[in-house]
Symmetry: C2
Subunit: 228 residues, 2 copies
DNA sequence: GTCTATATCATGATAGAC
DNA sequence: GTCTATCATGATATAGAC
């Protein structure tokens, strides 16, 4: 019984931290803000997590464990169905990015708040966070890269890796976008309400990503071809 | 004569701040680090700039003024040459993103350091920075959007704006990438040295961006068409 | 313009009572 | 598990001598 209260405190800290890290960044958020917003005592963070860094990691682990398992599951399923034949690029892109974007509608998995936090954090300066994320991502990333290599055998691997990178960037930025969005949008909000916008973001982004992934290969000014 | 020394101090602070903000972010960088790295007195920042926020703004203004003027100049030139006819999308993309990326090779304009800082800052949480950047960018952005509308009259404006946004994201992420790059790369550094990599980033990214910009339009699951 | 010294405040973390 | 009280440190900013 008492343990349920405990979990409640833990969860409230995690929820508050998720929101605040999203809004103000890791360095820009103090433990006092977090415990204040969660209505728990200042000492509770150190009791439950040990440190601010450990809290940050737990904020991500809580969501990423599920996301990456889901990505693996989806890929396994698609590959089983394909029975050895290469997947379509659109399937792979949807398995990786679509699975991520559909979290936005799932409040239980963090919804847009977590997505925006993740988008921002991928370019976050703090060394330990990037190192942590790279480690969390590695296995899944390798599986999806392999699937793309197989799906696009005529494209040099180096180009695929770069384009994966560009896709990650476009996606991070799209989901990180709150006010950064204003840079480019301003007006075009007019006749789409916010749920429309979110629903439509997925097909919009998917078209863009696939167009980029399948674009004609770049011509380098020197003679050497890209490494394969 | 004494004024030259003054400018020297100012510039050294700006250079150090640019490097440190890039590496550790705005919140993660202290004025002690900045003045330490610049080998000037702690009080010099407040004397020359007034505050840490004002320093941050000046770091950007120093580079963005030139960049945005250059973007305007290039666009003016291309439009004059086209004499009223629409430009090619590739010209517009090169004018906006190519001009940016070519700063990487120009140490006098901040080189890769500034580019990485800019890439990271576009998703930076701090409100005042994003507001400032949005303001700095607005005029140029509007001109380039108009050029794209004209170049792609069959594409709904809302889609163009979104795709501009995605292009910005892919570019920011690509140039912000230091260790974030490791998420996706790891190995493929092998037979390209770092100058090669930078030279090749531009055509690689350009192919990707153009592929995304000209991708088939998304199909929305409901009946309503995108607003134009 | 440059420096030292310092004011003032917020931070992350912990010790110890309950 | 939760609280108060506090430590040690580091932050931005400024006053005032030179």
């Amino acid at each position: 019984m008492a343990e349920i209260r405990t979990n409640d405190t833990r969860e409230r800290i995690l929820d508050a931290a998720e929101r605040l890290f999203m809004t103000h960044g890791y360095e820009g958020t103090s433990m006092r803000q977090i415990t204040g917003e969660a209505s728990v005592n200042l000492a509770a963070v150190n009791y439950h997590f040990g440190s601010k860094e450990a809290l940050m990691q737990e904020v991500f682990r809580r969501r990423l464990d599920w996301l990456n398992e889901e990505r693996m599951r989806v890929l396994d399923e698609m590959e089983a169905e394909a029975a050895g034949k290469p997947l379509k690029p659109s399937q792979i892109v949807d398995g990786f990015f679509g699975t991520l974007l559909r979290m936005a509608g799932d409040e239980k998995r963090g919804g847009v708040t977590f997505l925006r936090l993740l988008g921002r954090t991928l370019t976050e300066p703090s060394e330990f966070i990037r190192a942590f994320l790279a480690h969390e991502y590695q296995t899944v990333m390798d599986r999806y890269k392999e699937a793309l290599f197989k799906a696009l055998p005529e494209v040099p691997k180096a180009e695929i890796v770069w384009r994966f990178h560009f896709m990650l960037g476009a996606t991070s930025y799209a989901i990180a976008g709150t006010d950064a969005l204003r840079l480019v949008t301003d007006w075009q909000i007019e006749d789409e309400d916010s749920t429309d916008r979110l629903d439509r973001l997925v097909p919009r982004l998917m078209s863009f990503l696939l167009g980029g992934l399948r674009a004609p290969l770049p011509q380098f000014s020197d003679a050497a071809a890209a490494s394969n």
